[in-house]
Amino acid sequence: MTAQKLSLAKGLNAGLRKAMEHDPKVVLMGEDVGKLGGVFRITEGLQKDFGEDRVIDTPLAESGIVGTAIGLALRGYRPVVEIQFDGFIYPAFDQIISQVSKMHARSLGHLRLPLVIRVPFGGGIGAVEHHSESNEAYFAHTAGLRVVTCADPADAYWMIQQAVASDDPVLFYEPKRRYHERAEVELDEDAGAPLPLNSARVARAGDDLTVLTYGPMVKTCLDAAGAAQGEGKSLEVIDLRSLSPLDTETIFTSVRKTGRCVVVHEAPTFLAMGAELAAQVQRECFYSLEAPVLRVGGYNIPYPPSRFEEDFLPDLDRILDSVDQALAF
């Protein structure tokens, strides 16, 4: 057994280290990722061990970071880019949407961009503006990008390696408020194959209602399911893990079983993941549904100042409120 208790942050760090050991073409780049090890220390120690050639402290320019990562990828490298905070990805939006997502298709398959763009996302850390956003839907909306997010240390460790190994570009969302949560992680591949990158995971089995969620909200939803259990309600919690593509089989199987579905994410609900999930679930599970699919998310306002964030973000009460509505339908 090679299980180890790791934080989500350390899981990512260990996963990146393994990816770099495995393939000399893997390079990390971003602001402060080298000597400092990133503002969240996800890349801590990697520059020391792999050199400045492979862990690059870039100039402060996100379009530059992603744009040059594209060039490196064209030259045969596998860049793993860190965007320091969710709200700072927008200078790179053009490169991601116009180039990263389309390169394979434009070249009729001749070119591949195996790059990973890591994005610490979500709120709950009391930060100033632009540091708490959930902008995954912009990218999930864009064909050509894979969008995934880990919710616990084991997925952090394995999914980052799978993302690096992917020949498609991957937006890799990291739930920053969960960085320091710890769990046992099996580090040995032979001890049981990890779930594929684009699979969802039943995080908790239940019969009465399916909660679809991902990233930082997985833990909140598991807590809500625990609380609901006390009231005799059995919730099935699905950690989507992959937002594009969606593992629809796991999703539909669950909803067909429970007949009820609530989607939970931090992002404002309008045109977000919940909208897509609700549409697909009502189309595919129509005859099993006992209630409309409900969404719990951030309100449709700019991410508020931190003193408001507790009320802005879905919490146990709001999730259970929607669960009750769905169950009472």
């Binding site: 402060l60 100033v128 700019p302």
Partner: protein, 403 residues
């Protein structure tokens, strides 16, 4: 080799192979004195420096200053440092979530801020507490966003001091556009000192790497906009030293965009004032933009969330402590006989009072009512926001005694 072969070209060095060699050259952190181009008027001990090729163009501006001007600049330096220290302390006490300290950069900000006229406009980053002070922005206004009760929230037009901008580089273009507006209003080159206006755009050394920054230089140059780019080169962008951001100092970059760049000793308030005043006068007169690089140092951490011991050596901070902007100005005033102990004591006392006022205002700053987060998203009523606000209020009311 046949006899008629051409003389072989000298053998080029073997190409550098990526897996064998480090790509980047041996660039190191440059701890210089700012170089011969740097405009400076007062040395580290407060002595007035003689006229030099670098400073002579600005000497008249300094000579025109009165002892009273000098005293009041000193006062600004001390009060600004105190505002900053209080911000830092309030963060440590849990009253603020974050504080970006300007420690060490007081002269750069006061010199720049004092050179502005009422009708000029400033576009700050997030560290420009000293410029805010010079624009008469109440320091209390700056606390809200770091306390988490708002995103800034002050009326920028009350003091011609725009909201803090956290996304590095964005505001450089806003400043440029604002300056283009001033041109279109005809408020440039009229010769009326109360009408002609200019804009100042503030960023850091790291900020010069952003696309927005460089696009702003392009636009400002093309428009010949009444604008002063003011780069506080405090040597560090979080953990990254200058050589990770550029190969030539920012002031030398301006030329390539078609306008002048000047490096000034950012810890010499008289020099910063003089250089900024000259640049603003030129901008208001219709002579276009200038880029000023204030060569200074970030004495503290990047913000209260940062731990600089991870990436920089203490000895470097010690070197810069010797160049402290306040000690220097105090030495200058004292050696010239422009100020006495009683004056310095009075300023310190005023700083104590200001700090107490800020602390109290911060501690008493209320949390806004929760539904306020739905306000001001749109100018006109918006059905989604209105519905969610109503639902939110009803939901909150469903908790006995409030949530």
């Amino acid at each position: 080799m046949p006899d008629d072969a051409m003389e072989p070209a000298p053998q080029a060095p073997a190409p550098v192979r990526h897996h064998e060699t480090v790509v980047t050259g041996p660039m190191e952190h440059d701890i210089t004195d700012g170089g011969p181009d740097m405009v400076q008027f007062v040395d580290g001990d407060g002595n007035r420096l003689p006229t030099s090729p670098a400073n002579e163009a600005y000497a008249k501006i300094v000579e025109d200053l009165t002892p009273e001007d000098g005293r009041s600049m000193y006062r600004d330096l001390v009060l600004v440092r105190r505002i900053d220290a209080e911000g830092h302390a309030l963060q440590r006490q849990g009253e603020l979530g974050l504080w970006p300290s300007l420690l060490g950069q007081e002269a750069a900000q006061v010199g720049a801020g004092r050179a502005m006229r009422r009708q000029d406009y400033a576009f700050p980053g997030y560290r420009e507490h000293g410029v805010a002070w010079c624009r008469d922005v109440p320091p209390e206004n700056l606390l809200g966003m770091f306390r988490g009760v708002n995103h800034g929230g002050w009326d920028s037009n009350a003091n011609n001091f725009h909201l803090y901008t956290i996304v590095i580089g964005n505001q450089m273009l806003h400043a440029t556009g604002y300056a283009m507006g001033i041109q279109r209003d005809g408020d440039v080159g009229t010769g009326d000192p109360d009408r002609d206006a200019a804009v100042m755009a503030f960023t850091g050394d790291g900020g010069t790497a952003q696309g927005d920054f460089n696009e702003a230089l392009v636009f400002a140059g093309v428009a010949n906009a009444p604008l002063v780019f003011f780069v506080q080169n405090n040597q560090w962008a979080i953990s990254e030293p200058n050589y990770k951001q550029f190969r030539i100092p920012p002031y030398q970059r301006a030329r390539g965009f078609g306008f002048p760049g000047v490096r000034v000793d950012g810890n010499d308030v008289l020099a910063v004032y003089a250089v900024t005043k000259a640049a603003l006068d030129a901008a208001r007169a219709g002579q276009g933009p200038t880029l000023i690089e204030a060569f200074t140092y970030r004495m503290g951490a990047h913000t209260t969330s940062d731990d600089p011991t991870k990436y920089r050596i203490a000895a470097e901070v010690d070197i810069w402590r010797e160049k402290d902007p306040i000690t220097r100005m105090r030495g200058f005033l004292a050696s010239k006989g422009y100020a006495d102990e009683a004056f310095f004591d009075a300023v310190d006392k005023e700083a104590d009072e200001l700090a107490a006022r800020i602390r109290k205002a911060c501690q008493e700053m209320p949390n806004p009512p929760k539904p306020a987060m739905f306000d001001n998203v749109y100018v006109d009523p918006h059905p989604v926001v209105e519905r969610e606000k109503a639902e939110f209020i009803a939901y909150q009311a469903s908790f006995e005694g409030g949530k």
